[in-house]
């Protein structure tokens, strides 16, 4: 009996870690970038697959086990700043105190780390267009007035003391969970927010994007949520590791 229980626990535990992560199919569509570039045509988003949830601490642990260069004590500062995985107990231990975080999104990971993880999984990070397109889909199991209101409500709340597990917010009609409400997520081309100066080389462009003048260049002037998300992405650098910033992977359909 004891053995059986042990085996069952082992199966449940390892099964969880090693199970192929479920991916949802996001159908093709058009995405209008929030900040209008020289071309105001929407971007084509092809059908792609996206992880149902963000990458969890347990899943990330498997990655650092097999990729020593991504362990906290070994990681190169060019690729991850000193906050990298700072809440973990050690290189290969998430820690007893963090037990309730095992199935929560891994955070304090850099863009380079997220890229490396995705490659290791034979996947990639979604582009901004893919991510935003998937995230704009309607929630199906929560009550909300508008997605923007839901997102702003979340943005206005302080971080919870313990980051909740994945799937703790809502699932959208495409089948992906927690696109809003849990963490911010890295995208492959996060540095495509032209917040410093654009190709016209006009230093006024900074001001245009951040102050009132910027509103004439954005897609939907009432979409504060997108504005905040784009601004946040624009403030990041590739080696930043931040409290509520994690990632999920995507994959082309074939």
């Amino acid at each position: 009996m004891k053995y059986l229980v042990t085996i069952m626990i082992a199966v449940i535990f390892f099964g969880h870690v090693n199970a192929q992560k479920k991916m949802a199919v996001i159908p093709a569509g058009k995405y209008q970038p929030f900040f209008v570039t020289k071309s105001d045509k929407p971007l084509q988003v092809n059908t792609f697959k996206m992880d149902e949830t963000a990458v969890t601490n347990l899943e990330y642990l498997e990655f650092v086990k097999t990729n020593p260069q991504w362990r906290r004590s070994k990681v190169n500062r060019l690729f991850a700043d000193t906050n990298y995985l700072k809440y973990w107990d050690g290189d290969l231990t998430i820690g007893e105190a963090n037990k309730n975080l095992y199935n929560s999104p891994v955070v304090y990971v850099s863009w380079f780390a997220a890229q490396a993880y995705s490659k290791w999984k034979n996947k990639k990070l979604p582009t901004v267009a893919e991510w935003e397109f998937a995230a704009n889909a309607a929630p199906k199991n929560i009550k909300y007035k508008s997605l923007t209101d839901y997102v702003l409500d979340w943005y206005s709340k302080p971080n919870p003391p313990h980051l909740p597990n994945v799937k703790s917010t809502y699932q959208n009609v495409y089948g992906v969970y927690d696109m809003h409400g849990l963490i911010w997520e890295w995208t492959s081309n996060f540095n495509s927010f032209i917040g410093s100066s654009d190709s016209r080389g006009n230093s006024e462009a900074d001001l245009k994007n951040f102050c009132a003048g910027g509103a004439i260049n954005v897609g939907d002037k009432t979409d504060y949520a997108s504005f905040l998300r784009y601004s946040f992405r624009g403030s990041l650098k590739g080696n930043y590791c931040i409290a509520n910033l994690g990632f999920r992977c995507s994959k082309d359909l074939n």
Binding site: S39, K41, S192, D198, S199, R200, L228
Partner: protein, 204 residues
């Protein structure tokens, strides 16, 4: 009104993030902290030459960034279909080269294209010829992923639009002979004096 409050609060949060996390990082312009203590011949942990992916030169040669080690390198990112900003950025770097006439052959000048789909070696070669770039210049084509990675390392922002053109920031970067970012200047029509001074200090 409530919405407004939320917005302002969230912006403050963002500002806080962007400030608190940038304290020891290079700004978009100006001097980058000098922490290159690696001995000659080794790649320091701050070196962007750790990027091992392959690029193609305008002569269709496969190279890694590490092949530019040994001399300081002035880098810009451009695309050849760009009609306004990129020719100016190229001209700005040429001005730096002119300022450094006495140091001919001791500095690499590097242009990396954003446009992985159109800027193949032939196109880059034509661009180099039309812009009158000499043998000290290398123009690089790379796949989308490696170009994106380099842009992240150089703090260059760029976005591709639906027509295949790019919005991008204009930054001239100076790498030391080991590939460590030493100096950056953002904008067009920059004074070549400041950049050439930074390069000069790196020449041995």
């Amino acid at each position: 009104m409530n919405k407004m409050k939320t917005c302002v609060y969230s912006l403050l949060v963002i500002l806080f993030f962007s400030c608190s996390d940038s304290s020891n990082k290079s700004a978009f312009t100006g001097e980058v902290p000098k922490n290159n203590t690696a001995p000659v011949g080794t790649i320091s942990s701050e070196s962007i030459y750790q990027l091992t992916d392959t690029f193609q030169t305008q002569d269709s040669k496969n190279v890694t960034l590490a092949s530019f080690a040994g001399k300081p390198t002035v880098v810009g990112m451009i695309f050849t279909h760009c009609t306004y900003a990129c020719p100016r950025l190229t001209a700005d770097i040429k001005n730096v080269e002119n300022k450094l006439k006495d140091e001919n052959g001791k500095v690499n000048y590097l242009l990396v294209s954003f446009d992985s789909e159109r800027d193949f070696p032939d196109t880059l070669k034509k661009y180099a010829r039309d812009a009158g770039l000499d043998e000290n210049w290398t123009l690089l084509h790379g796949n989308e992923e490696v170009v994106r990675t380099l842009s992240v390392l150089l703090n260059v922002q760029f976005a591709k639009d639906a027509e295949g053109n790019f919005s991008h920031s204009n930054i001239i970067s100076v790498l030391d002979k080991n590939g460590v970012l030493n100096f950056q200047k953002e904008g067009l029509g920059t004074d070549p004096e400041e950049i050439s001074k930074a390069v000069k200090q790196l020449i041995q």
